[in-house]
């Protein structure tokens, strides 16, 4: 018995030692600082020449997508038409998309439906490569501001094609507020203490920055995603002051819906999807874009640097930018298509669908939306004194923690 226990211990210690040695060896073999932080310079894949024509399909296509972005109603016809079998992996967050693409995903996946807050991380990480938009007929009909937006186009190179977008609107209860608020100030107003809800997402700091850019011009904020330390601190401060008013930082759209449904909150930052769902349930709410404008998200189908099925990927870009798929996607998810020629199709899918998601809005409306992009150390003006995204995450923990 005694001998047995001793030997068990010996085996255990030996095994643990071997594992530790193996892991130390593994760590040592990875070159320190494999990815460089200093200086953004040009995107690593900028020099890669995109194809001038689309060759025969490779028979399959691997996508990283938001849930709801690879629905059978447009994937099945695509597979039938092109012979490209679609395999979709759903990601839960922008960072998950970046990690999946970075950790060798580029050899496995062809495309990713990244949002603006992840795009620059993918581009400067060398995970995606330039796309020839001439091969994508739908691109010509995009809203002008989505043809070469700064979040997916660098130095005239397109790293993907825009897909769908939406604003972050101000949602309010029409029982409490008889007319539409004209300013985001209601979210910072002590009259609504404990009756406010905003998304639980670090990028929400940009909403405070956008508000400050109009209400406190002395800070000199021109872009809510490019903030110097002083500007950033002011935005974080504003959110700290807002905190006592917050009922809940919502994580799921369904939480905000139920908060409004049972009257726990009366104002909040939301997506048009929540407004439409609540109005369909006969809850007395409405949404508006206040005079300071709004932040918004815009998704891009981006092409992986080492995409194993590039021809199927181009066929996918052609397919999903057609008015029909654009309309189907917009109605099924609750967002606005990049293609401007979809109004009639959207109305056919859902009465009033075009107006509900602002697909026919004038350019002036879209100009009020500041689309999400990754906050980087490098500001747009060539200086590199802006607050990077990692600090946004830390500040967000401070605000909500």
């Amino acid at each position: 018995m005694n001998a047995a226990t001793t030997s068990i211990r010996r085996v255990a210690v030996g095994g643990l030692g071997a594992i530790l040695m193996a892991m130390l060896a593994l760590c040592a073999s990875v070159p320190a600082g494999a990815a460089t932080t200093s200086g953004l310079g040009t995107p690593p894949t900028q020099g890669m020449t995109p194809p001038s024509k689309v060759g025969p399909g490779e028979g399959s296509l691997n996508l990283i997508a938001w849930e709801g972005y690879a629905e059978p109603q447009w994937v099945k016809p695509f597979e039938k038409a092109t012979g490209c079998q679609v395999n979709a992996k759903y990601a839960g967050s922008s960072s998950e998309m970046v990690s999946l693409m970075a950790n060798g995903g580029g050899h496995q996946y062809d495309m990713v439906s990244a949002s603006g807050d992840a795009d620059l991380r993918l581009i400067y990480g060398g995970d995606v490569k330039p796309v020839n938009v001439k091969l994508v007929p739908g691109w010509k009909n995009f809203h002008p501001f989505l043809k070469s937006p700064p979040f997916n186009t660098i130095n005239g190179r397109h790293y993907g094609v825009s897909y769908e977008f939406g604003p972050n609107v101000l949602l309010y209860s029409t029982k409490t507020l008889s007319k539409a608020p004209t300013s985001w100030s209601v979210l910072y107003n002590k009259n609504y203490q404990g009756k406010v809800t905003v998304p639980d997402n670090p990028i929400q700091i940009a909403d405070a920055a956008l508000y400050l850019s109009k209400t406190n011009p002395s800070l000199g904020i021109t872009d809510p995603y490019e903030l110097t330390q002083t500007q950033f601190n002011a935005a974080v401060n504003l959110m700290m002051q807002q905190k006592p008013l917050i009922k809940k930082y919502w994580d799921l759209a369904s939480q905000e819906i139920s908060l409004f449904q049972n009257g726990s909150v009366v104002v909040g930052a939301a997506w048009p999807y929540q407004t439409n769902t609540l109005q369909a349930a006969k809850v007395k709410v409405a949404d508006t874009i206040p005079k300071q404008g709004a932040t918004g998200w815009a998704d891009t189908w981006m092409l992986a640097t080492n995409a194993p099925h590039p021809n199927c990927a181009y066929r996918w870009m052609q397919w999903v930018t057609t008015p029909k798929v654009q309309a189907q996607q917009a109605i099924s998810f609750g967002e606005t298509p990049a293609n401007s020629q979809v109004c009639a199709l959207m109305n056919k899918l859902q009465a009033g669908g075009c107006a509900a998601y602002h697909a026919n809005a004038p350019d002036a409306y879209f100009k009020t939306i500041k689309f999400w992009k990754t906050p980087l150390q490098q500001c747009g003006n060539g200086q590199s004194n802006c607050v990077p995204f990692q600090d946004w995450v830390n500040a967000w923990t401070q605000i909500t923690g």
């Binding site: 047995a4 085996v11 643990l16 960072s95 990480g125 923990t397």
Partner: protein
């Protein structure tokens, strides 16, 4: 050949033990301990803020960041909640388990057992959502209080709501070990205590309570550790001041992509649990399990 092998094994008990135990031990080491060690090592790295790639340069900055007021607040909140829930569950579970073990008839005892264990059959999410419905501003609780003229407090989306939900969800994990400890107290001890002149209360205080304490401590290991590691309840029913260690870890991995800091923060509950288990062992909890 076969005989020689078995003879060799018979002569060398250490070889026999090694061969028998190697597969499960290797599994345990590789899957469980190795992943913990990898996590510990990751905690000393940093992440490239732009590309989300882990950079293999050794640093202690993740650990020093934990000791800033933001994270201390979150850690203390989690810890205090775990302690509160444990005490609440102990207070509720003790009389219940006592009734089950020493008072109820076998048939009633069986029914109570089913009542305690039945909620565990339902999904965790379903049970938390049930409480969201009960506690919300137009829910049953507020409605009842309102009609009793006791005002209409806002309970949902607060730390009070979390405390109620946690106490409810982990209650069975306290009842069962306490019941086990109480059931094992021999009837003769109580009779002896009575024969020596102790009344009910004194017997309870001097005989029952000390003998049942290891059961309470064993149950507290469950309620404490389950609360300490949770992040779903704060997400669903917590308010603006309800982040737990688990939520912060989740945010750093899922939203921030900062695995090294998440790993460093994950060390905190491990350390807390290690200390807790040492105290529990000193109180004899492992004998009651």
């Amino acid at each position: 050949m076969g005989i020689r092998t078995s003879a060799a094994l018979w002569r060398r008990p250490w070889l026999r033990a090694t061969l028998t135990l190697s597969p499960p031990l290797a599994w345990f080491l590789l899957i469980y301990l190795a992943s913990l060690v990898v996590m510990l090592i990751t905690a000393f790295f940093t992440v490239n803020p732009l590309t989300n790639q882990i950079e293999h340069t050794w640093t202690l900055s993740n650990f020093s960041q934990i000791f800033t007021s933001t994270y201390i607040t979150i850690i203390v909140r989690t810890l205090v909640m775990a302690i509160l829930v444990t005490i609440t569950d102990a207070v509720i579970a003790f009389p219940f388990a006592f009734f089950m073990a020493r008072v109820a008839s076998p048939r009633v005892r069986q029914a109570l057992f089913v009542a305690v264990l039945l909620p565990l059959w339902a999904s965790y999410m379903a049970r938390v959502y049930a409480w969201v419905v009960i506690l919300s501003d137009k829910g049953m609780l507020v409605w009842t209080l309102n009609h009793l003229g006791l005002g209409s407090p806002h309970v949902a989306y607060s730390n009070t709501a979390m405390w109620i939900v946690f106490s409810y969800i982990w209650l069975p994990f306290m009842v069962i070990p306490v019941y086990g400890a109480l059931e094992r107290i021999p009837e003769s001890y109580l009779q002896a205590s009575a024969d020596l002149g102790a009344r009910g209360w004194r017997t309870f205080r001097r005989v029952v309570l000390p003998l049942a304490l290891p059961g309470v401590v064993a149950g507290s290991i469950f309620t404490f550790s389950l609360t300490l590691g949770d992040f779903i309840t704060p997400l669903l029913i917590g308010g603006a001041n309800s982040s737990f260690i688990g939520n912060t870890i989740y945010n750093n991995v899922g939203v921030g992509g900062n695995l090294p800091f998440a790993a460093a923060l994950a060390m905190v509950p491990i350390v807390i649990m290690a200390v807790y288990l040492l105290i529990a062992r000193a109180l004899g909890a492992f004998k009651a399990m």
